[in-house]
């Protein structure tokens, strides 16, 4: 209606989010997939030669089919990022803000304390995403609900030396993907993929209006990439983000697990918020109902445009996917909300 812009000043605009359509059309592939390994909150996945490595808590496990995960290495605090250098050095970021390369601690600038992702370029350049200047990686929900945008992108040249800040004011960079000299960053709180020029640090958006909060990126065999979205966008959450007083009271008075905020898993306690659509009716939890958690892995083509996606819907359990890794036509998917690592055979197709 013609008067809407004027009326909106008084009544507020409708809160909308991008629909799950096109390449994001829902399916149940993640819930249909067999579990490759059971592991509590698997976060990062890495393919290292014949081994599949997964981080969980403050340990790195080695996974293999039909066997219990084996501990490879433990650390004093939780592992928040993993990468493998072209020469095979295991690079680990910790919750405490420390960075280890092949077990040796690398000195970091003081501003670096929230390592959310690591990636090596082919020439050995190490990219590092610092999620927030104020909070540790596990405090991501607080960073989102306080509208944090203090993340930054860092690089260390292959020749060695210190880390150099490439760009700042990124709203929680959570995934890295090196493309030639440049790097692709998933800017989670702004639901977009941004490309940073390796030399100048200039940014250009690649993919915007994602239906979820993007997490880590990993390469796929044909030159494209896999993007994980660790939680769905939710209209109530976006509404609460605009409600200053309620949000502040919630942050200060409600325990974080029961916030109206995205989550890696939901419906585990009756103290969690519930939205009308999520009410169990006649024994059914509607798969399309609004949810705080979701499982979503997206395949991007060489131009970084979405091709298809794998879903675990509101009534599913394989939620909170932060990382995937592809090897020999098999995609390994780590579901933090579902406490398992999945293996999906890509060769069978059907996407």
């Amino acid at each position: 209606m013609i008067l809407d812009p004027v009326l909106d000043l008084f009544r507020g605009k409708a809160v909308t989010i991008p629909p799950l359509d096109g390449a994001f059309r829902p399916n149940t592939r993640l819930d249909d997939a067999p579990a490759f390994a059971e592991l509590t909150e698997p976060d990062n996945l890495l393919v290292s030669g014949e081994r599949v490595l997964a981080s969980s808590g403050n340990a790195i496990y080695s996974l293999a089919a039909r066997t219990e995960p084996k501990i490879v290495e433990t650390f004093p605090s939780a592992v928040t990022a993993l990468a493998l250098s072209p020469s095979g050095e295991l690079t680990v970021g910790l919750e405490s803000g420390k960075l280890l390369i092949s077990g040796k601690e690398v000195p970091l600038p003081a501003a670096l304390s929230c390592i959310t992702a690591l990636a090596y370029a082919d020439d050995g350049t190490l990219w590092l995403a610092n999620g927030s200047a104020e909070r540790a990686p596990s405090q991501w929900a607080a960073d989102l609900m306080r509208k944090g945008a203090s993340g930054s992108l860092w690089r260390r040249d292959a020749a060695g030396g210190g880390f150099r800040k490439v760009s700042g004011d990124i709203a929680f960079p959570y995934g890295l993907y090196s493309v030639g000299r440049d790097v692709l960053v998933s800017e989670s709180w702004r639901h977009q993929l941004v490309r940073f020029d390796g030399a100048t640090g200039n940014r250009s958006t690649v993919l915007t209006h994602l239906p979820g909060y993007p997490a880590r990126l990993s390469p796929s065999a044909d030159g494209g990439a896999w993007l994980t979205l660790f939680a769905p966008r939710n209209r109530l959450i976006e509404f609460v983000l605009q409600e200053k007083h309620y949000r502040q009271d919630m942050l200060s008075q409600v325990p974080p697990a029961y916030w109206i905020a995205p989550a890696l898993a939901s419906s585990r306690s009756f103290l969690e918020p519930l939205q009308c659509g999520g009410i169990r009716t006649m024994g059914i939890h509607k798969p399309w109902s609004p949810s705080r958690s979701y499982g979503l892995v997206v395949r991007l083509d060489q131009d970084m445009q979405p091709q298809f996606s794998l879903h675990s819907r509101a009534n599913g359990t394989r939620h909170g996917i932060c990382s995937v890794a592809e090897r020999d036509g098999i995609l390994f998917i780590a579901s933090r909300g579902g406490d398992c690592v999945l293996a999906v055979d890509l060769a069978s197709g059907g996407f």
Binding site: A14, V15, H245, Q253, P255, S267, L271, P273, Q275, C276
Partner: protein
Amino acid sequence: MSFRERLQSWRYNLVPDHVVGEILTKRWTDNAIPFLALVVTLATFGSIIPGFFKLTALQESTRQLGEFSMVVTGMTVVMLGGGIDLSVGSIFALSCFSAVYVFFILEQSIWLALAASVATGLVFGAINGYLVGYLRLRAFLTTLVTFIFGRALFDILVTTYAADVQLSTATSDVLDFIGDSTFWGLSVSVWLAIILAIVTHIALTRSRPGWHVLAVGGSRRSAHNAGIRVRRTVFMTYVFSGFCASIGGFLIACRLSGAGPGTGLNLEIMALTAAVVGGVSLGGGRGSVIKGLMGAIIVLTMTNGLIRMGYGTGTNQMVLGIMLAVAVTIDIRWLKNRHKVLNEVYVAPVYLKMGKTQSAAPGSGTSYELDNRLSAADHIGLGELEGPEDVILDRDDNLYCGTRHGEIVRFFAPDYVKSEVFAHIGGFPLGLAFDKSGNLISCVGAMGLYSVSPDREVKRLSAETSRSWTSIVDDARLRDPNDCDIAPDGRIYFTDSTKRYDAHDWALDSIENRATGRLLVYDPKDGSTRTLLDGYRYTNGVCMAHDGKSLFFAESWACRVHRYWLEGPKAGTAECVIRDMPGYPDNINRASDGNYWMAWLGMRTPSFDLSLRHPDMRKRMTRRLPQDEWLFPNINTGGVVKFTEKGGIVEAMGDLSGGAHPMVTSMREHKGYLFVGGILNNRIGRYKVAGADPNWTSPASYWGAKS
């Protein structure tokens, strides 16, 4: 409490926002805009033009108004029937000429002139009606053609006979009386207009043909399907319009004693503007004669006022055009968006700070601590049932429950596999109770209090109570009768949860949280219903105490249980026995050990409790988000809680997985088992209660052993 929060509580608890929404539900708000326009127009011109309201000036204006409003009345009826009549101006002019011709040139009696005039109107109306009604041509084009044709005919006739009329010497007292005199202070034309308006109004609102017109205008196809003769009805509206225009034409003939080229010029635009400005919908079916008259007064005041202020015809036409455009826009936008506005405005949340509660989380160690026991319950009617809000067993161990299809289903003892529809009531049967003679009493959501006899005869006991003085929406009607129980003397105590929402919208009431729940009593001796208590936040379960001297009732959104005394020193008063529970209480029933069972329909969540302290946030939420996205209390987990007469909590059990009994709205103990129902569930659960009396039944507890 911060200053801001205190301010919020005053703003949302003292300002009655809900009144706006309730007023908007009234049909008469449709009249408000035209009425306001009328007052503004009269006030404006009355103050600008000196002597605007003087008697002499008014006399002339009202004569004009009388003729004009008749034409508008005819136009209104056509528009109500879903059509439009652009030819009223030319019919008016031709009728005027007919009267003048018969009286002045043929020198016949004035009555014959009237007959000629009316005949002209009827013939032209019938032509319109035949073309539009029977041949189903487009009303707009058809009447445009008759308008052009009629106007051309009139122009030819007037130029031909003008001189003859001037020379005529015919006079008549009747003509002078109609044209110049007054009767009880009002001119004949005004009297006629009033009579016509009253008759038309009564016909439209109180008679079969009038209803047919409204039905056809509202929906032609539905009217046809309902057996209304649509074509004839449409035909008659045009004939009526022609008749009205012809009477107007006759009156102007009397007033001016002649006809000139200006007679009836632009009348169709004025009449159309008047009807639309008054609020008669162009789409048909909505409007009234009164609205048409209001519009007529507005338009005439406007045009006459502008002329007296010295503006020419051009300005006048321009103003008319603008008024028409504005009115049409408002009409269409309002009709289209009224329900949206209502939806946006109706939910008016209030401020509430819930008391601090004990935790019910597993492992918390409180008496409210929920476990997973109910998930082990056997299921009855899984997949066959939809929405057994309450369950009850009779003396022969048969199980009864309501369903969302408005039925009462009976499962047969002993295995509860076979079932039948015991009775069909309609609505949504909620609370159930057996009276002394075995009648099944049920609170039926959206309908009232009903009784089903053992031989399945359904009888309505009560659907209304007395209306409160300050109510805007009629609160005598029971909107959400929820649970009932029967006192030893046979009186039925029951709750009506909210005055604001219908039964199926109960969840909206939790968002609003306004205290409008009632406790009522139905007396079978004289069939009367009385309101005992009012102003609770969603009154829900009712249960007579074991001694029958008091009853317990649940106040869901406040998480409290109250005790209402029927006898003793505190008779007629209520006291809160359990407050600040971690769950929302639903039905309450007796337990075999002298305690009481209470169902929890859902659990409090910190985020929702906090939102109750932010009514502004909830209000914006209802406006900016679709309902599926709204924040709710967590009704995916419920439970069953046992409490003592003093209000102490004995134990609590639940289904934390949510797989079998997520939301529990009722439970009934019977021979050592607990039968569990849920309004959103698809089964009844049967759970063996450890330590329960295996012989105890509810009917025996209420009415004694089988006689």
